[in-house]
C-alpha cells in the first residue's frame, strides 16, 4: 500500500535541513514496516497443526480481519478526528448505544432492517455532529465534549434497554428480527469471508479514496496543521470540525450495528474501551496527536497489527498479563518514533 503524498507529508518534507540520516520516507512507512514485522514474527511463532502453520490458515486470517473490523472502522473515523487535532472518546459508547438500539428496534419495536440501519446510522451521525458543533462553537476541547458524550451515550443505551442486553432471534413475525440482519453474523463466498470483514474493506477503500482525492481531506489536513492559517485561507473550520465528528459518530454507529449482528445481541455496556483501541491503532499508524500529520492507510495498518497481535498471542496461549505488556510496549515504541520525528522537524 503506497499512499499518495498527502499535504501533510509534503509539508514535513519541505521543512528544515536534515540533521539525521533516516529518510522521512521511513517514517511514512513506519506502520507498514511494523505490520510486516509483526506478520513475519507471527508466522515464526505460529503453532503447527498437522504440519501446517495455524496462523497462515486462511480461516484464521479471515478471523483476524473479522475481529479487527469494528475497531478498524472506528479507527478510520478517529484518524480524521485526530488529524484536526481533536480526540473522540465517545465512539465506544456510541457503539454500545447503536448495538443496543439496533437490537431493540429489531426485536422490541419490530422495525425492519433498512429503517433500523438508517435510524441508527442517523443517530450516530447526529450525535457526532452535535459534539463537533458544541466543541467548535463553544470552543470546548473535544476531549471534554466527547467525554461527556461518552457518558450520555452510555446512559441512553441503558435507559433504552432497561440496563440489560437485548438478544436477537431471527424469523418472521413480531418479536423476531428479519433473517437479513443475520447476514452480519455470516460469511459469503461459499462461507469463507465474514461479511463484517467485507464492510471493513469497503469502509477502508472509501476512506483511502476520500483522503487521496477530496477537497474535504485537504481541508482536514489544513485545519489540523494550522487552524488560523486555514481559516484565513478560506477554509470553513467549524463546518470541517462538525463534519469530522459526524463522520466519527457515523462510523461508530456502523460498527455498533455490526457488533449487534456479530454477537446476536445488543448490550448497553458493549464497546467499553474500544475508543482506546482505536486511538492505539491511529497512533501505531503514525498519526500525530498534535494534528495535521498522518494517514488513514497507516491507521488501517495499525489496526491490523493489533488484530494480528491479539490473534497470535491467543493462538500461543500466552498469559493475559503478558499480552498487556506486549501491547503497551508496541504503543510506546510507535509513539516514541512519532516524537522523534516531530522533534526532528
Amino acid at each position: 500500500m503506497t499512499t499518495a503524498a498527502t499535504p501533510a507529508a509534503e509539508q514535513s518534507e519541505a521543512g528544515r535541513p536534515r540533521r539525521f540520516q533516516i529518510p522521512e520516507r521511513f517514517f511514512r512507512l513506519q506502520s507498514y514496516v511494523a505490520l510486516v514485522l509483526v506478520f513475519l514474527a507471527a508466522i515464526a511463532v505460529s503453532p503447527r497443526r498437522g504440519g501446517d502453520l495455524v496462523f497462515l490458515n486462511s480461516e484464521n486470517l479471515l478471523n483476524i480481519v473479522r475481529a479487527t473490523s469494528e475497531i478498524g472502522i472506528i479507527a478510520v473515523g478517529m484518524t480524521f478526528v485526530i488529524l484536526i487535532g481533536g480526540i473522540d472518546l465517545s465512539v465506544g459508547a456510541i457503539l454500545g448505544l447503536s448495538a443496543t438500539g439496533a437490537a431493540s428496534l429489531l426485536m422490541v419495536s419490530d422495525v425492519g432492517v433498512v429503517p433500523t440501519v438508517i435510524v441508527i446510522l442517523g443517530l450516530g451521525l447526529a450525535f457526532g455532529a452535535a459534539q463537533g458543533l458544541i466543541s467548535a462553537r463553544l470552543g470546548i476541547q473535544s476531549f471534554i465534549v466527547t467525554l461527556a458524550g461518552l457518558q450520555i451515550a452510555r446512559g441512553l443505551a441503558r435507559i433504552w434497554s432497561g440496563g440489560q442486553g437485548v438478544p436477537l432471534a431471527y424469523g418472521d413475525g413480531p418479536g423476531l428480527a428479519p433473517e437479513t440482519f443475520a447476514l452480519l453474523n455470516s460469511r459469503t463466498f461459499n462461507g469463507t469471508v465474514p461479511i463484517p470483514a467485507l464492510i471493513f474493506l469497503a469502509v477502508a477503500v472509501i476512506a483511502l479514496v476520500v483522503v487521496r482525492n477530496s477537497v474535504f481531506a485537504r481541508h482536514v489536513y489544513a485545519v489540523g496543521g494550522n487552524e488560523r492559517a486555514a481559516r484565513l485561507s478560506g477554509v470553513r473550520v467549524t463546518r470541517i470540525k462538525v463534519a469530522v465528528f459526524a463522520l466519527s459518530g457515523f462510523l461508530a454507529a456502523l460498527a455498533g450495528i455490526i457488533h449487534a449482528g456479530q454477537l446476536n445481541q445488543g448490550s448497553p455496556n458493549d464497546g467499553s474501551g474500544y475508543e482506546l483501541d482505536a486511538i492505539a491503532a491511529v497512533v501505531i499508524g503514525g498519526t500525530s496527536l498534535m494534528g495535521g500529520v498522518g494517514t488513514v492507510a497507516g491507521t488501517l495498518a495499525g489496526a491490523l497489527l493489533l488484530g494480528i497481535l491479539n490473534n497470535i498471542l491467543a493462538l500461543n496461549n500466552i498469559d493475559a498479563n503478558v499480552q498487556l505488556l506486549i501491547k503497551g510496549a508496541i504503543i510506546i515504541v510507535a509513539a516514541g518514533i512519532q516524537a522523534f520525528r516531530s522533534q526532528r522537524r
Binding site: 442486553g165 437485548v166 455496556n269 496461549n317 493475559a320
Partner: protein
C-alpha cells in the same frame, strides 16, 4: 428508572409512621449521624430494639458496586421485585460505578436520608469497611451481599460460593458430559478477580475424579462476549479436538458458541457457562434454546436479602450471621421452569 433516584418522601413517612424509629434511625432532622445514636446499641441489638413490626414503614438503602454488569443489575432488579411485594418497604438504590469512594458517599447519603436498613454489595472490602461499621454502630441493620467486608460489624452476609460452583461445573463435565474422558477448553473471567480464580480452581477440583479429562487450552475473555468469541476462535484454530468449552460466565460461553458455529464445529462441542441470569440475554434462555448444554445458577441474593430484611424489621426476629446460597444446575430439562421460578420476564 425512578427507583434509582433519591427518595424524598420515604424517610419522612418512615419516621412518622414508626415512633420507635425516630430516635434510632431517622436522620433527616439531625443529619449528624452520631447524634441519632442515643441508645448506644450496636446494629445487631438495635435491629431488635428498633423493630416496629408489621405496622412500621421502612426505608431500605441498597448500595450497589456497579450496575454495568448484568449480574449486578439483576441483583438490583431482584431486590426491587421482592420489595414490591412487601407493603412496608421502600427501597432506594445507589450505583457506585466501581468507585470505592463514591460508594462510601452513597452510604453516607443513605444515613442522612435516615434509612432503616442498609443492603450493600461492596465494590472492595477494605475501603467500605469503615462506613459499614459506622452504619452498624449507629444501630442500622446491615445486610452484606455477595462480597464481604473486613470486619464482623454487619447483621448478615449473603453470598454464593464460587469455588463450589466451579466444582459443580467440573463434576458435571467429569460425570455427565465426558464420563470416558476428553478435552476441555477454558474461557476465564477477568484476571485478578476472585470469581475467575475460584471458578478455575473449583473446576479443577471437580474434574480431578476423572483422570482422562485434560484442559488443553485456556483463554481469557474478561467476562465479555466479544472477547470470548475471538479467544474461542483462536483456540479452535489451534486445537483440532475440543469436546467441551467451559466458560466462567454465560456471555463468554455464548461467544464460544458463535465462534464454533462460524467454524462449523458447534455439533461436536458442548458449551457450559455460569450465572444463569433469568433474563432474555441470560444463560437459562441459552440452555433452553439449546446453545449451551448447561449453566449454573450464581444466585444474586437479592430476594434473600429482602426476606432477611423482613425478618429483621417486620418480624423482629434474630437472623443468622451468614447465609450461603446454593448453586443449581440448569439443563434443558429444568431451564423453562427455573426461568419462571427465578422471576424471568
Amino acid at each position: 428508572m425512578t427507583r434509582r433516584n433519591g427518595h424524598a418522601a420515604g424517610p419522612v413517612l418512615a419516621c412518622a409512621a414508626s415512633a420507635a424509629l425516630v430516635l434510632a434511625a431517622c436522620g433527616t432532622e439531625s443529619d449528624a449521624p452520631g447524634v441519632a445514636d442515643t441508645t448506644g446499641a450496636t446494629g445487631g441489638d438495635a435491629a431488635a430494639a428498633s423493630c416496629a413490626g408489621a405496622d412500621g414503614e421502612y426505608l431500605i438503602g441498597m448500595s450497589q458496586a456497579n450496575v454495568a454488569e448484568p449480574y449486578r443489575q439483576q441483583m438490583d432488579d431482584d431486590i426491587a421485585a421482592a420489595a414490591a411485594e412487601v407493603d412496608q418497604f421502600e427501597v432506594v438504590f445507589a450505583d457506585a460505578a466501581q468507585d470505592n469512594s463514591k460508594q462510601v458517599s452513597d452510604v453516607e447519603n443513605f444515613l442522612s436520608q435516615g434509612i432503616d436498613l442498609l443492603i450493600i454489595s461492596p465494590n472492595e472490602a477494605a475501603p467500605l469497611t469503615a462506613i459499614v461499621e459506622r452504619a452498624y454502630d449507629e444501630g442500622i441493620p446491615v445486610i452484606v451481599l455477595d462480597r464481604k467486608i473486613e470486619s464482623d460489624s454487619y447483621t448478615q452476609f449473603i453470598g454464593a460460593n464460587n469455588l463450589e460452583i466451579g466444582r459443580a461445573a467440573g463434576e458435571y463435565v467429569a460425570t455427565e458430559l465426558l464420563p470416558d474422558g476428553g478435552t476441555v477448553a477454558e474461557l476465564k473471567g477477568l484476571p485478578g478477580s476472585t470469581p475467575a480464580q475460584e471458578r478455575a480452581d473449583g473446576f479443577r477440583e471437580g474434574i480431578a475424579s476423572n483422570a482422562n479429562i485434560e484442559i488443553v487450552a485456556e483463554g481469557v475473555g474478561d467476562w465479555l462476549r466479544d472477547l470470548g468469541q475471538s479467544q474461542a476462535e483462536a483456540i479452535l484454530q489451534a486445537n483440532d479436538d475440543i469436546d467441551v468449552f467451559y466458560a466462567h460466565n454465560d456471555p463468554m460461553a455464548e461467544g464460544a458458541y458463535l465462534a464454533a458455529t462460524a467454524a462449523g464445529r458447534e455439533g461436536e462441542i458442548s458449551f457450559i457457562g455460569i450465572d444463569a441470569l433469568p433474563i432474555p440475554s441470560g444463560g437459562i434462555k441459552a440452555v433452553e434454546e439449546g446453545r449451551l448444554s448447561a449453566t449454573f445458577v450464581y444466585p444474586t441474593g437479592g430476594r434473600e436479602a429482602i426476606a432477611t430484611a423482613e425478618e429483621i424489621l417486620v418480624e423482629c426476629a434474630d437472623v443468622d450471621k451468614e447465609q450461603v446460597l446454593e448453586t443449581q444446575l440448569v439443563t434443558q430439562e429444568n431451564a423453562a421452569d427455573l426461568y419462571a421460578e427465578l422471576g424471568g420476564q
